[in-house]
């Protein structure tokens, strides 16, 4: 066990995997100097410039080259800075990485991890603040992971690299500095949610940075006598239906909260699937359908706050619980 930041935990995990598996390489802009967020600190010194590969500002080719590497037997970890810039590589992600194995009838596979951090990042405005996990969840062939804690950023990154499929790995820019105890020997599995706080009145499903607001909200609600069970989805696709349904069967109500825009967000999938399967009351809370503004009052309009989560939970419990 060691106290590590979210960013250092991932860096350590990558270091360990690269040491064990010579097929693992890392490529992207600025990785040689450790990455602009420090996610690759020390790796080029440890593994050399042939395995920790500096690249031009060529997102399409960063991702496309990773597909070629993977088809030819490597296991690339791809640095794309932020999900907003990953949009410059969408053909390579969606038409190539996600489909190659299928199109070629299983002759080739694309084991790669594409890191594209999501989320707000104080004062970064509309082109550096998006959360697009719902997009990738919609694309057959992709796995989508969004860790919320240092421990998960260690364990899930390792699991993602080991998985053998293209994994869209979404860290959160406002979590880089978050510190916690990390057990580097703990193995995580993709597709398994974490119960972060037990409760009985409603199930709150969330992921990434919003987990921390959800926990704060649950604490506040507790004082009002409202018992919220908090589930951290961790893997967005495949999402852990069993864990969510088991909790909702107990509590009788579902609230999904995420930082992404609510309209067409992945909360819709979870809410719809739960309503279809269990017929219980469901609610979502995501950002309004607005670009993220620069000034704090505008940016704050796009933030899902603990207060808003408590309010949504209260409203949901006001509705009659069913199915429990």
């Amino acid at each position: 066990m060691a106290r590590l930041s979210y960013v250092q935990a991932a860096c350590n995990a990558l270091h360990a995997v690269m040491q064990q598996d010579a097929r693992v390489v890392t490529l992207g802009e600025d990785v040689g100097r450790g990455g602009v967020f420090g996610q690759y600190r020390g790796l080029q010194q440890a593994f050399g410039a042939e395995r920790v590969i500096d690249t031009p500002i060529s997102e399409a080719t960063i991702m496309g080259a990773a597909v070629g590497m993977a088809l030819a037997g490597l296991r690339p970890v791809v640095e794309l800075r932020v999900v907003d810039f990953a949009l410059c590589a969408m053909d390579e992600v969606v038409n190539q990485a996600a489909k190659a194995r299928y199109m070629f009838g299983g002759q080739g596979r694309v084991p790669l991890v594409a890191r594209m951090p999501i989320g707000l990042w104080r004062g970064s405005a509309a082109q550096h603040s998006q959360s697009l996990e719902a997009w990738y969840a919609h694309v057959p062939g992709l796995v989508v992971v969004a860790p919320a804690t240092p421990q998960d950023n260690h364990g899930l990154l390792g699991a993602a690299i080991a998985s053998g499929d293209p994994v869209i790995y979404m860290e959160h820019k406002e979590l880089w500095g978050l510190e916690d105890e990390v057990d580097p020997t703990r193995i995580e599995r993709l597709g398994v949610a974490a119960l972060r706080r037990p409760g009985s009145d409603l199930t709150l499903v969330t992921w990434s940075r919003t987990l921390h607001d959800a926990l704060a909200a649950a604490e506040t609600a507790q004082d009002e006598g409202l018992s919220i069970e908090v589930i951290d989805l961790r893997t967005i696709w495949p999402w852990d239906r069993e864990a969510v349904f088991a909790s909702v069967q107990k509590t009788g109500r579902l609230l999904v909260a995420h930082e992404a825009v609510q309209a067409g967000g992945f909360g819709a999938e979870i809410a719809a699937a739960t309503a279809e399967a269990l017929g219980v009351p469901v609610r979502r809370l995501g950002a309004p359908r607005i670009p993220v503004g620069y000034a704090p009052p505008l940016e704050d309009a796009a933030r899902v706050t603990p207060q808003a989560i408590v309010a949504a939970a209260r409203e949901l419990v006001g509705a009659p619980a069913r199915g429990a």
Binding site: R51, P56, T61, V67, G68, L71, F104
Partner: protein
């Protein structure tokens, strides 16, 4: 190997490759009649469905380049990839089965013409997206280099692809990382219904490549011996120093953009002039000069016809993939989850 030193045996092998490509595509074209709803054709029950892009008239590029490739070399292709696949050594029968969409095809019916691949011989796939193979080739070259040895990646793309961003990005990348890639611009002068020249500023493919740091040569892409010689020189350089090279092969797209495209947007004259430069005819003349007999070529042609006829019969008789196959080869994580 210069054209002068060309052995008759090698010349006949090049001709054979071209003859097999030609016969394969003629048969595929026939089987595709009415198979695509674009360009005004109806959605009939053709044996080969969807867009079928023929490389008729361009066979010398595939044959000449691939003659210089080894099985451990890799290859990325385009939407117009039958020739590259055959020339790299794929089974014609399994290719035809794939075009027919049968379980016995290379991709088990999942890919069809636009995604044909044979990983066992290093053919990493055709691609439905223009220029998409370029970054993939570059990445594959990283893998080769880490593995060691002198294998290379041959990366084919069309003249239209040089106006897409990945052309710049991929060549620059191969240049700075000194990767063993043979870039082959198969310049058939057309991009779908558009003449590429009018859409291309500057001196064209080779000048661009050179400015981006990838040296190379231009060649008559209808002369299989010239292509073969150029590919021999460039691939030897790549194997020696590990750095990328560029081959600009100028040829012509005899058929429409897809098999059901009548190509009414271009002049008969232009096509007629191009037909006079048929790569198989040109090769036949040269082979005669080397002392080859017409009968030898006729035998090759007949053999190719027979081989293709057998492939068509096999494809026709082959089973469809089971519908359950639609749910496999997608991903391992969550493999059983396809409805939620």
């Amino acid at each position: 190997m210069s054209a002068i030193e060309m052995s008759l045996e090698h010349a006949l092998a090049l001709y054979r490759t071209m003859a097999r490509i030609r016969a394969f595509e003629n048969a595929a074209e026939e089987a595709s009649k009415g198979g695509v709803a674009a360009f005004g054709a109806s959605l009939a029950q053709a044996k080969v469905r969807g867009p079928l892009h023929l490389s008729t008239g361009q066979e010398a590029v595939a044959a000449g380049v691939c003659a210089q490739l080894r099985t451990d070399d890799l290859l990325t292709s385009t939407h117009r990839g039958h020739g590259h696949t055959i020339a790299k050594g794929a089974s014609i029968e399994r290719m035809m089965c794939e075009l027919f969409g049968r379980a016995t095809g290379y991709n088990g019916g999942k890919g069809g013409s636009m995604h044909i691949a044979d990983f066992s011989i290093g053919m990493l796939g055709a691609n439905g997206v223009v220029a998409a193979g370029i970054p993939i080739a570059v990445g594959a070259a990283h893998a080769l280099r880490l593995r060691g040895g002198d294998a290379l990646v041959a990366c084919f793309f069309g003249d239209g692809a040089i106006n897409r961003g990945p052309f710049l990005e991929g060549l620059n990348w191969a240049g700075i990382h000194r990767l063993p890639v043979l870039f082959v611009c198969e310049d058939n002068r057309w991009s779908a219904t558009t003449e590429t020249g009018a859409m291309t500023a500057g001196e064209g493919a080779l000048a661009r490549a050179q400015a981006i740091g990838v040296p190379g040569v231009a060649v008559n892409g209808n002369d299989v011996f010239a292509v073969d010689a150029a590919a021999a020189a460039l691939s030897a350089q790549i194997r020696a120093d590990g750095a990328p090279r560029f081959l600009h092969a100028v040829t012509y797209r005899i058929k429409g953009h897809v098999s059901v495209d009548a190509a009414a947007y271009r002049s008969h004259d232009e096509v007629a002039r191009a037909l006079e430069q048929d790569p198989l005819e040109l090769a036949a003349i040269r082979i005669a000069a080397l002392g080859g007999e017409r009968a030898a070529l006729a035998a090759i042609d007949a053999q190719a016809q027979a081989e293709i006829a057998a492939a068509v019969a096999a494809a026709d008789a082959a089973p469809w993939p089971a519908q359950s196959a639609a749910y496999t080869d997608i991903q391992d994580t969550g493999a059983e989850r396809w409805r939620d």
